[in-house]
């Protein structure tokens, strides 16, 4: 172990003597993030926080019969996103509990964040986004309620999947992200409500199957119309789950545009350039072979695999140091700009550190795989740069946000998203960490195997 640590220290020391490496590792991502933050926040002017940005809402939902009466979940969306006066008559039945909640708690302030315009034509909404009239469009499909409502049969109750279209402008990534977060939060509430209903119905049907007396009574109640369950409360926005999404939004709203953009781009840039750092650190093994120092290390009385382990560990530590320094440097810039000492990455520094380590593992895994698969160092450098740029584009390093299903391929997405969540005060980043650790772990193991094989070190 001592040998490995000596080599890691030497590797870190040498890599930080290299001016080009220093520029790529620290200076470039730092300057890019800072310049973008200044540029988009109005170069020093004190701009208001993001609020009231225009969004088009198209509700094509035709509604469904929930068993207890007609329900239109699309209207529920409208209720949440539009001020009460503009929302029109609510289709959902009134929920007494919601009335009580509305009396005691403030309503969701989403209407302060969005200026929502209701349209009837999806194509008109998309055209509005393309022309810049709206920064995003939310399009609820015609079968939205039908697919989300529990389908009751003799054997039980089931739910089908559906999707809401978010048509966002590439020029407004932050706003697009906010709309996406809002829609996800509201959808989550609807799904939760419907799962509850489905589970309730399933329980009743199961009991009817196992308890003949109850089954007869249940059938009779259904036939006579006395069984009229009121599931309206499951869909009332004022009740609960929307407030979960408010917390990060509130935290985001408390920050200036400069800090918001700095966290958004800073996280993505740091993660993007970390890929290069890991790659260069691993490629240095080939430089050592060319220089002859690898041969010298191989005749030192220590197992040969120590050399490969030291290289991998050096890459990992290098990335951890890089990310830590960058995040702290961006915090410093934000503090100077805002005129107060602040930590822009949220209130959970341990989670930030954990995210850094998970991201470092992931990018080192990718780099090990890449360097291991390439036939020559030149090939690794060429394809490495292309792959890094590709992962950067997918992960949101270049200012546009792709759907999560596509962006999720890139560790940059999971890493920078975790940093953004933490910066917004949301510590619910378990999925991000899990994906990064799994992605990193698997690639690290496979990549290390290829890397050892390609290094040509026997006994490694």
């Amino acid at each position: 172990m001592r040998h490995i640590l000596i080599m890691v220290w030497n590797g870190l020391y040498i890599s930080n003597l290299d001016r080009t490496g220093f520029i790529i590792k620290f200076v470039t991502p730092f300057l890019l993030s800072t310049i973008i933050a200044f540029a988009f926040s109005g170069l020093g002017s004190s701009l208001p926080v993001i609020e009231a940005f225009p969004v088009a809402l198209v509700n094509l939902d035709e509604g469904a019969d929930s068993g207890g009466g007609p329900v239109n979940l699309g209207d529920t969306f409208v209720q949440v996103l539009l001020p009460a006066a503009d929302a029109g008559p609510a289709a959902a039945p009134v929920c007494p509990a919601a009335d009580a909640a509305a009396g005691s708690a403030p309503p969701v302030a989403i209407t302060d964040l969005l200026t929502t315009t209701r349209l009837n034509d999806a194509e008109e909404a998309r055209a509005g986004v393309r022309s810049g009239l709206y920064q995003a469009a939310i399009i609820i499909p015609p079968d939205f309620s039908r697919r989300l409502s529990p389908q009751v049969s003799a054997t039980g109750a089931t739910l089908a999947g559906t999707e809401i279209e978010i048509y966002a402008s590439g020029a407004s990534p932050l706003q697009g992200s906010i709309v996406r977060s809002l829609v996800q939060a509201i959808s989550q509430q609807l799904v939760t409500g419907n799962v509850t209903i489905a589970a309730t119905l399933q329980t009743l049907i199961d009991r009817a199957g196992s308890d003949p007396a109850f089954g007869l009574a249940f059938a009779a109640a259904g036939a006579s119309g006395t069984f009229q369950p009121d599931f309206a409360c499951a869909f009332v926005p004022a009740l609960n789950t929307v407030t979960v999404a408010r917390e990060p939004l509130d935290a985001v709203q408390q920050r200036s545009v400069f800090v918001q953009i700095l966290t958004l781009f800073g996280a993505a840039q740091a993660a993007f350039f970390a890929l290069f750092t890991a790659q260069f650190a691993l490629l240095s093994l080939y430089d050592e072979r060319k220089q002859g120092t690898l041969q010298r290390l191989l005749v030192v009385p220590m197992p040969a695999w120590y050399i490969v382990a030291a290289k991998l560990l050096t890459a990992f530590v290098n990335v951890v140091v890089q990310l830590t320094v960058l995040l702290l440097a961006l915090t410093l810039v934000a503090s100077l700009r805002e005129g107060q000492v602040m930590f822009i990455w949220g209130d959970a520094p341990l989670l930030v550190l954990l995210t850094i380590m998970a991201l470092a593992l992931s990018v080192c895994g990718i780099s090990a795989l890449l360097v291991g698969l390439a036939r020559t160092p030149e090939q690794a450098r060429l394809f490495g740069s292309l792959i890094n740029v590709g992962l950067g584009a997918l992960g949101g390093s270049f200012g546009f946000v792709l759907p999560a299903a596509i962006a999720g391929v890139s560790p940059i997405y999971w890493g920078s998203e975790a940093f953004r969540q933490l910066a917004g005060g949301n510590t619910d980043i378990g999925l991000n960490l899990l994906v990064l650790l799994l992605q990193g772990g698997i690639m690290f193991v496979i990549g290390s195997w290829f890397f050892v094989r390609r290094s040509g070190i026997k006994g490694a």
């Binding site: 000596i6 040498i14 290299d18 220089q291 002859g292 041969q295 010298r296 009385p301 197992p303 026997k458």
Partner: protein, 334 residues
């Protein structure tokens, strides 16, 4: 029984080409090196010297055979064997971004040195290689000769019992070369180190070696002390006639062999467009003769009869070059 520092038996190294065929870089080498002696592997470039030394040092695994360093098998007890060895590779195997001292300290730590002991050894080595004044300077500011000295210093840091040096004077000026050769002799004379030295320069092998093995095409073709080896060509002088780019017929060589008393063999070494250093070389006729100076007039007459112009004539006493030429029919520089 002699106290062997290195015992290599039946070392073979073959490589597989892309087309599936195999090429043998080393084809069964046996070596026995006594403690405290300088043993040179002499041979032209590509003869298999570096591959042999790489197997002995554990850098590459032999296809067959084994080597013992101080009684420890390099294949079965590599760590014990490596502890006894110092290595001076052909390349400047150092971190050029670091200073001489930082390089020595890094490798010293890897060999288990630390604290005051490490500092003391580094100071000793810097003094030995005469670089104390420049110890804090980055290596990329050093001349080739100075880098070579640090390269040697790293190999000595942990006080090994045996050092292998792979062509340590390649690409440096005569002054630094002289310095390195003196250093090698001091290591034997003052520190009783065993040194395995590879070179393709006959003069170095002659100056340094207690024992020499001549390597060609992956085999040892002769071994022994210099005296023992030169006896193989007898008391014959070598007469070397440069003939520039002129074509030499086989018939002329036969006529030369019959031209004077004592001439045993005549060889033609064709001109080369460029040698390893890129310079063109003239064609030469080498004649082995028992009393070279006496045979000289007859040989000159024979060459003149063939209408060839003689650029220069050199008469050499028996040496390792002559041995190699005698055994292979080729010059070492080939």
């Amino acid at each position: 029984m002699p106290d062997w520092m290195v015992e290599a038996t039946g070392l073979v190294k073959t490589y597989q080409r892309r087309d599936g065929s195999t090429v043998a870089a080393v084809q069964g080498i046996d070596l026995h090196i006594r403690r405290g002696e300088i043993f040179s592997l002499l041979g032209p470039n590509g003869a298999g010297k570096t591959t042999t030394i790489a197997m002995i040092s554990g850098l590459i695994a032999p296809t067959r055979g084994d080597a013992k360093i101080g009684g420890h098998s390099i294949t079965r007890e590599p760590l014990a064997a490596k502890r006894l060895m110092g290595v001076v590779p052909q390349e400047i195997a150092l971190y050029l971004e670091l200073s001489a001292r930082q390089n020595l300290e890094f490798f010293g730590r890897l060999y288990g040195l630390s604290g005051r002991e490490l500092g003391r050894r580094v100071d000793e080595v810097l003094d030995f290689i005469d670089l104390t004044e420049r110890q804090r300077d980055r290596l990329d500011t050093f001349s080739g000769g100075m880098k070579r000295r640090v390269n040697i210093g790293v190999g000595l840091l942990h006080r090994p019992q045996m050092v292998y040096m792979d062509e340590p004077t390649v690409g440096i000026d005569p002054q630094n070369r002289r310095r390195i050769l003196d250093t090698v002799k001091r290591l034997r004379d003052e520190y009783s180190l065993t040194i395995l030295y590879t070179t393709h320069l006959m003069e170095e092998a002659q100056e340094l070696s207690d024992q020499v093995a001549i390597v060609d095409q992956g085999r040892i073709i002769a071994r022994g002390s210099q005296g023992e080896l030169t006896q193989q060509v007898g008391e014959q002088d070598r007469l070397i006639f440069t003939v520039g780019q002129q074509k030499v017929e086989e018939a002329l060589l036969r006529r030369i062999e019959q031209s004077a008393e004592g001439v045993t063999r005549a060889l033609y070494d064709a001109p080369a467009v460029g040698d390893a250093d890129g310079a063109a070389t003239a064609g030469t006729i080498t004649v082995f003769a028992r009393r070279g100076r006496r045979a000289l007039p007859g040989i000159i007459l024979a060459i003149n009869d063939a209408s060839l112009e003689i650029g220069s004539v050199e008469v050499r006493e028996p040496d390792l070059e002559a041995v190699f030429l005698h055994l292979t029919g080729r010059a070492l520089r080939d």
